[in-house]
Symmetry: C2
């Protein structure tokens, strides 16, 4: 299962984090934008070229430090189909550099439409007699509101293509409780119900290290729920947003991990992409500044969780 590859990479690099690639133009150093705009004009194509060049620099600097990247689809769609081409090229560049790619699209639909999303982001598509990889991520974030009809089509693709998914369970935003924390008549919360379903959906995608191919998104900003869900969902790997800019700290996310320092990957986007602005280095050193920030975050988290080890008997 694809999350096994992520886990192996986390252990190898001793780094349970993922770098979010949410490249708004404001984050891109001026010298990159100038070059792209000179070549393509102040156009969507120019913006997409700037973003791609920015991402490639980040990936070059991060690929020996951080096991995974998480491009957020919204920031690519923002620049139209040119931006979506930059998403494709970013995913493929990161994979060439050996990184695990979590496509953050929070996609959701049913039946053949969900199959189309699964094929688009994790699988292949056939045109005539030829087969293509439309985007080629290793895992996709998905939204559970439509129930099993929205998840099962993904599981088939994950099994066939060695890919994984992360289902939104308890998100990091202030209003996440508006629906997710509400308690059903049986006593279970909505997020607890979705978490339980993740364990069920994951049964068909067992992993070598005790964690299935069906992960869950659980925000760093709710440490009590992180701890509760870690206890209740022993086979579900967590993708943890909300670290840094949104207020979650290393002590908060420690609850997401098991006794082996495994069980979760913590995302940071803005703090890594904009490290060059905060550190005061010349903008041409943005990638180096990003890697320094990624190392600082790694050390901060590892100091709370301890070294990451594989435990094959956990499954």
């Amino acid at each position: 299962m694809a999350l096994d590859r992520l886990i192996e990479s986390i252990v190898k690099l001793q780094n349970p984090t993922v770098a979010g690639l949410d490249p708004v133009l404001d984050y891109v150093p001026g010298f990159i934008k100038e070059k792209s705009f000179t070549q393509y004009g102040e156009t969507l194509e120019g913006a997409a070229a700037a973003i791609l060049a920015f991402n490639k620099g980040l990936i070059d600097a991060l690929c020996g430090v951080v096991p995974a990247v998480k491009p957020q689809c919204a920031y690519y769609e923002l620049y139209g189909w040119h931006g979506v081409k930059a998403l494709h090229d970013t995913i493929n560049y990161a994979k060439e550099k050996g990184m695990f790619v979590i496509t953050d699209g929070k996609r959701n639909d049913i039946g053949s439409t969900m199959q189309a999303y699964a094929a688009a982001h994790l699988g292949t598509v056939t045109v005539g007699e030829r087969t293509f990889v439309p985007f080629g991520g290793d895992a996709l974030t998905v939204n559970p509101y439509l129930g099993s009809d929205g998840i099962n089509p993904l599981l088939e693709t994950c099994r066939a293509q060695d890919k994984g998914i992360f289902v939104l369970v308890k998100t990091s935003n202030p209003s996440s409780g508006e629906l997710q924390n509400q308690i059903f008549e049986g006593g279970e919360t909505l997020y607890g119900t979705v978490g339980r379903l993740c364990e069920q959906w994951g049964e068909g995608l067992p992993g070598k290290y005790g964690y299935s191919g069906v992960g869950a998104v659980v925000g760093a900003t709710y440490p009590a729920q992180l701890a509760e869900l870690r206890r209740d969902l022993p086979h579900t790997f967590f993708l943890v947003p909300g670290y840094g800019a949104q207020g979650g700290g290393a002590k908060d996310v420690a609850a997401a991990f098991d006794q082996n320092g495994l069980g979760a990957v913590v995302n940071a986007s803005r703090s890594i992409m904009t490290a060059w602005k905060k550190s005061g280095v010349p903008e041409t050193e943005y990638a180096k500044a990003a890697a320094e920030e990624a190392k600082r975050m790694r050390d901060e988290i590892i100091s709370e969780t301890g070294a990451v080890t594989l435990n094959k008997t956990n499954g």
Copy 2:
């Protein structure tokens, strides 16, 4: 508000339906595919060209009959960024022909990321000193799992750009009840809670005809819930999937409408796009067959609901 434009078009054409544009290659007549593959090869670019040509033919035939089209993003992402370019071109062609475009992306996220989705699909983006329209739909389907933090950023864009949204409330699929029908401790279902929030979110986007800019997706396959929600959500316009192929009929969807024959737009995708296969006409007449099927569906629904009239005093 953008849903006013949809409503006016429904009344003008006396047709409360929307044609889904979910163009899987199997639906595209051979002569279109041959021409595209001759020009671009059996490639993602060739597939995207075939889909766009197919869509343009459908739009030409439907634009005087059906007020709106609903392209489903998944079927465009399936063909990579070339497919996403075909989505852009399809949206713009439909708008040129005077159709209202509902981009069916079921997007969801929070804060600045949701703002990026809003700008991408309903708004504009600035690059340097120039402003662009990335995709240009009139309304976007969205998923409510993240709560108000995922909806508020859309409302700002809708207000500024005269656009609307449709929030998933009760979906048409068999497992929609798995989460949506569950009853919270206060006695309200999850879908009922989301429906109530739609009324709240819509307060900031009031429309001329009693319906706000915040619509709801409610499936044709659950007529009892359609009737209940129509009663409980007097200012919320419904987008109703599940007609035809999924089993919902004209009597089922009649519950979605108010006493003026307003309040909902019913989607059909497969039955319209594949009408040429079922009717046995030559494949070159696929567009005419689609228009005939659209008229049949219109008549079937109007025979249950009666003529559609505006009621400006309803708000």
